[in-house]
Symmetry: C2
Subunit: 409 residues, 2 copies
Amino acid sequence: MRTLTEHQDAALALAAPLPPVEVGLADALGLVAAQDVVADAPLPRWDNSAMDGFAVRAADVEPASPDTPVTLRVLDDAPAGAPSSATVEPGTAIRIMTGAPLPAGADAVVPVEQTDAVFPQVTPTVRIRAGVPRAMHVRRAGEDARPGDVVVARGTLIGAPQVGAVASVGRDRLSVHRRPRVAVVATGDELVAPGEPPAHGQLPDSNSWLLAAAVREAGADPVRLGPLPDDPDALLGALARLDDDPTIDAVVTSGGVSAGAFDVVKAALAGTGVEFVAVAVQPGKPQGLGRLPAGTPLFALPGNPVSVYTSFEVFVRPALLRMRGVDVADVRRTEVVATTDDGWRSPAGRAQLMPVRFVAPDRVRRATDGGSGSHLATRLALVEGLAVVPADVDEVAAGDVLRVLRVRT
Amino acid sequence: MRTLTEHQDAALALAAPLPPVEVGLADALGLVAAQDVVADAPLPRWDNSAMDGFAVRAADVEPASPDTPVTLRVLDDAPAGAPSSATVEPGTAIRIMTGAPLPAGADAVVPVEQTDAVFPQVTPTVRIRAGVPRAMHVRRAGEDARPGDVVVARGTLIGAPQVGAVASVGRDRLSVHRRPRVAVVATGDELVAPGEPPAHGQLPDSNSWLLAAAVREAGADPVRLGPLPDDPDALLGALARLDDDPTIDAVVTSGGVSAGAFDVVKAALAGTGVEFVAVAVQPGKPQGLGRLPAGTPLFALPGNPVSVYTSFEVFVRPALLRMRGVDVADVRRTEVVATTDDGWRSPAGRAQLMPVRFVAPDRVRRATDGGSGSHLATRLALVEGLAVVPADVDEVAAGDVLRVLRVRT
């Protein structure tokens, strides 16, 4: 049997960052920079005021104090966006607003609070009640970024601060790795669409819905196909169409991979580039993995809802993050160490992925609240983490310390 | 001056969960359940097989062992989705696949591995090599959920496991709180769109882009307006149109709230339902907050990029999560305790929100790498947390332990 880690490595090996595309700022969120975003001009472009107040020559106001104010003649206004072209000569000042370029001749800014001015009133003179050293309240050109500075490095996940940083250097487009488009397919003659009344022996298809949502949570675009019957030819046809579709970057199936007489995914793909293996993990022992003929990565997961979920988490999600351009070191869920409040059995010789919820930042208990069957779909609704029980452990006791993958952030 | 906590409370008080709407499963991800989702039938609906194998009467196979196998006549096939209507009589078995309803007469399942059968071959008899107790490998009807069980509780954020759970009880729609639609407006005569060359004194509008992305990261839909000039009438007109638009749930502005002569947001809204206050926090001291005449909540943030970002994080984001229906206890960022690797000054009498990055799970240093000005837009690109320095601390030293809001998950 393949170990959990071996199969994780094999799954990740199917993935590579997708080609770069250029997108506008409005479409960059959640994607990964494919190239460095570099400042091509200093930021700020010009020395500018950090305060609302008066641009002055520091030497003029040096003796100023509340008792001995210095009076300066106000030459001009410099609101942000309408810089003054006047020059501050000895004995003069220019009214200036935060962000406005520092006028020629000025070398410091006195905040309005240290003057007798009452904005927005305009007065011909201003009394300065405190001296300021040279450069005070002046933001220097290039203080934020110099030309050539990397503002957002290749490989960075674009969040709001990164969008702001790219805009601040005057760029409205950037190069990112394309968002993966992932087809999800549930198989099984017994499946009906949710909302349709199931006949005897039928049940609603929940796996394709769970997988589509999980694909979206992993930052990729899902393409959900309706459930496919246990007919190898129909499945092969559907997979061939997906494989030939250049917009589909990966396919995830659920069901049909174990030892049954009607295991359609295994039957359809046996002898192709897809390998069916037993992985030493519970749930999720039967797994298929490989490439369809035209090269599309295929992840064939088992069909029980809990197995689908845990298999997606540990095998598929890291691969999708890698396709998005996330660094290999960052594709896994954050792992925390937690003490369990309850105990359970774990199969000897297989690692176990136990859905848990957090009762404290470092304490968990089973999300499934007693039941541990991989068919317990509704119990998954409480999952916040997956406790990883090592293969050589066959019993977990209350008080044991476990590694837990945090799946709900 | 208002404390940080007081202003946080005032901002959150503007928000209430938006009205419920019914959405299809494909649109539920990231929204919050407005009503309990309740199972209306047992799940599983029927006793069914947990294994691929043979449905038997346990009493028949009780004496079976590898040396003394029991031979049963195979009556029928029961693949999932096509249940057998035959009855297992003494001395007989029905071939059954995982998930298929247990046929009448049977009370246990023998896995194929404990027989001489080789799926998918069909044989008239099967040799059973091991006994199984009654109920073995049988999933009981209602084991996952009983009618009336709450599958997803009101107030739950819908993630992939919840989508799966709702589908598994046969529902294709659910009631969720509507996703907020939030207008973001940057003000300032000096602003040009990113991508347009700035004239002397102009700079690219990065705030509206940062805010739009932050709104989306907070699970709401942004409506980004181009930068507005420092003209109170134009601003009032734009705000009135947003206030009258029933699809707009909140408005966030940046800039124009401090003491300058051209502070347009303050000038336009002074004396209305929007209050302009000084908050004892750095950055982000000048803040506006209130309701536009028709009742739309307005968050008027200062204009420096770092102030915009930190103000959004602590004042606006919790309110948007509350509008989505998130419990008040969960609207704040997760707080961790971390030791800082570097030190800096903090203003006396004001709390400080310092952008930091994590160098280890419990160690941070300043994201701005030395610079601490609230205009350092590009340095924000490294932010992973906001260290909260209390108001009574005026200096942070390397080795100090700080509360850190984790902003990048």
